[in-house]
Structure formats: C-alpha cells, structure tokens
Symmetry: C2
Subunit: 201 residues, 2 copies
C-alpha cells in the first residue's frame, strides 16, 4: 500500500485514545495509511473469496517486525521492544492454476496520474526477478478519488520506473496498458477474472 506503517495500529489508537485520534486525523500520513489499509482490506476479502471457492491461494506477507527485547512470563514470550521494518518484496503472492502470482496493491488520491515514488526500488527489483523466473507480476492500482481500480502488468510499470524522465504514469496510459477492475459485491475486486489472464492462462 502507499504508506504501510504503522499497519493496523491506527485502529488500536482510535479505540483507546480519543486525544491521539484527533491528532492523527490532522496528519496526512495517517490518512494515506488509512486509505491504503482500506484498499488492502478489500484485496484481502477478495483473496478470502478465492481461497474459499478454491480459485486461487493468494496470501499477504506479514509486515516484518524487528524484535529487540523479549520478556518471558509463565513460559510465554512477550515482545517489549520492536520496530516495523519495510517489506523488501511485495505484499502479495500465491498460486493460480499452478502459476506463480506476485503483486503489490497501491492506492493514490491523485485523479489523473499514479506517482512512481509510491513504488520502492526494492519492489521493482523483486518484480523484475519474478518476471525473469516466469512468474506473473502485476500491480493493482486504486484511484481513490475517482473510485477506479486497475490491473497493470509489472513489466509496464518497471519500464516506466526505469525511464528517468518519468515521475508518474498518467491515468490515460494506465487505461491503455492496463485493465479496469470493476467493483462488485463478492468478490470486491475480481482481478483474476480480468482479460490479462484470459489471454495468458
């Protein structure tokens, strides 16, 4: 997602500390995290549907956490100091009809373009390797403000990322090179049903 940290913690703060909640709402970073998390949850629900219907197994990699201090109490370990680490790969991978799938879900509030700074060099390097190893690599990009979601082949994104003159991919380019994923009730974003897979698999 666009800004992943602190993953899921926002809810905890919201529940327990109203003062902090107000402070957070003013902070754009946290709003971006909220937006990212909402999209992530919709992808997770889609993946739960795929799992239940035995269409595919797509799992989200847990956020890596660097554990520094642990206490032992009644034979159980309690982590007392730890930090969130950046994912060095993508958020999602899995299997669809025997094929390996690997992708990243991103959300932007921009209306006309997707800023490439939302993607890390680690993610690009990982997806390049996935392509080299014949895996299916892509992005799911949400334009939050205009309420549209697109499937975009990672090969195209890698090409744009490597073009030093390019700082973003326009919505028109995404429409031309990607596939729009319509929002439905169940599954919410049926991305495995998009034309890309019909041509490929």
């Amino acid at each position: 997602m666009m800004i992943k940290y602190p993953n899921g913690l926002i809810y905890h703060i919201k529940k327990n500390n109203n003062k902090k909640n107000k402070k957070i709402k003013k902070n754009r970073v946290f709003n971006a995290a909220n937006r990212g998390m909402r999209f992530e949850n919709e992808i997770n629900k889609t993946n739960d549907f795929y799992l239940k219907k035995n269409i595919a197994i797509i799992t989200k990699r847990p956020t890596p956490i660097n554990v520094v201090k642990v206490k032992y109490h009644n034979n159980s370990a309690i982590i007392t100091q730890a930090y969130f680490e950046k994912q060095s790969t993508t958020d999602y991978n899995g299997v669809y009809r025997g094929y390996y799938l690997d992708f990243e879900a991103k959300s932007t509030k921009n209306k006309n373009s997707f800023p490439l700074k939302n993607i890390s060099i680690n993610q690009i390097n990982h997806l390049k390797k996935v392509v080299q190893n014949k895996g299916i690599a892509f992005f799911l990009i949400e334009f939050y403000t205009i309420n549209k979601v697109f499937f975009l082949d990672a090969k195209y994104v890698i090409k744009c990322f490597q073009n030093k003159k390019k700082s973003s991919i326009s919505l028109n380019e995404i429409k031309k090179n990607g596939y729009q994923i319509e929002r439905k009730l169940t599954p919410i974003y049926d991305y495995l049903n998009c034309k890309y897979f019909k041509n490929k698999i």
Copy 2:
C-alpha cells in the same frame, strides 16, 4: 521448523545475558528451537544462492506478530507490547520456472522416524489447497542425529497425516517415497536439483 518460537530471539539473549543463556541451554524446548533455526538458516542460505543465480525466488514468510501496544517517539513507532503468533500456512513459498512452490522445513532428532505431531493441521490444510490449485507442495525433513535431509512430496505426507493409525513416517518410508538431498558447500541443500523436479518440470 519444529518449534519456531521465539524465532531469532535466542541469539539476542545469548549476546546480552549470560545467566539467561545458561537457563535456556537446560531447556529442551529451546534446544529444539535452535536445531530448527539452524536448519532454517541453511535453507535460507540455499534460497539466497537460488536468488543470486536467478534459479528461483523462494521467500520465507515472516513470523506473524500480534501487535498490542505502540508508542510514538519522534514520529517513529515503537512496539512496546506484542506476541508471536503461529504461522497459519507454511514457512516458504516462491517461484521456480513459473511454477508455484510451497513447502515447510522440519527438523527431528529422531533416528528412525519423523513424528507427524510436528506438523499442524493448518499446514496440512494449506498444503492440500496448494495441491488442489496445482502448486508444487513438499516438505524438507532433516534427521538431525543421522545428518540426512529428505525431500518429500506433500501429497504423501497428507496421506500419512490422514491415516489415523499413523503417528509417524518411518525413515524407510521416507527413503522409499522421497529423495535424499545431499549436503554440499554451495548451495547447502540443492533441493531444486532433486529428481522430483526432473520428472515434473
């Protein structure tokens, strides 16, 4: 691995607290964790080799951690209370020549058999689904005491697990139905080079 928790923490304790270290050495649970971690590290090194040589991308899923409390200090999040959670799937997955791979590495100090209680029902259910979705699912089993490692198709392990009369798989059965992976310098356990893949891919 056989006992996964507390993943990687043992090293921290060893470095910083000699008293605790002595206590841990007496504890068989921690010895099992150490043995599991050593085997896990050898698999990780093998996977690093595969990644560098562009043979395959196999990643280890981070241990899921349930974050309970977080403090914010200078705009950075510090986790002050969290717990290790059980992996609901397997430890490793990835892509090899476009195919989806999913496996679990287990270590036992038994000499003649692998106890099935080392495998959780969640792992069996996950691997069943992987097989149904045409992924390649297997176990890497280390017999620590006799210094032998085997590749065993998950379909065979699932069959044994479902046989209620069976509490373990004998070494002879593993030799007959699996493939021994010889220990080498680099990569340590070249499991993608075993006969299973030569027949399959």
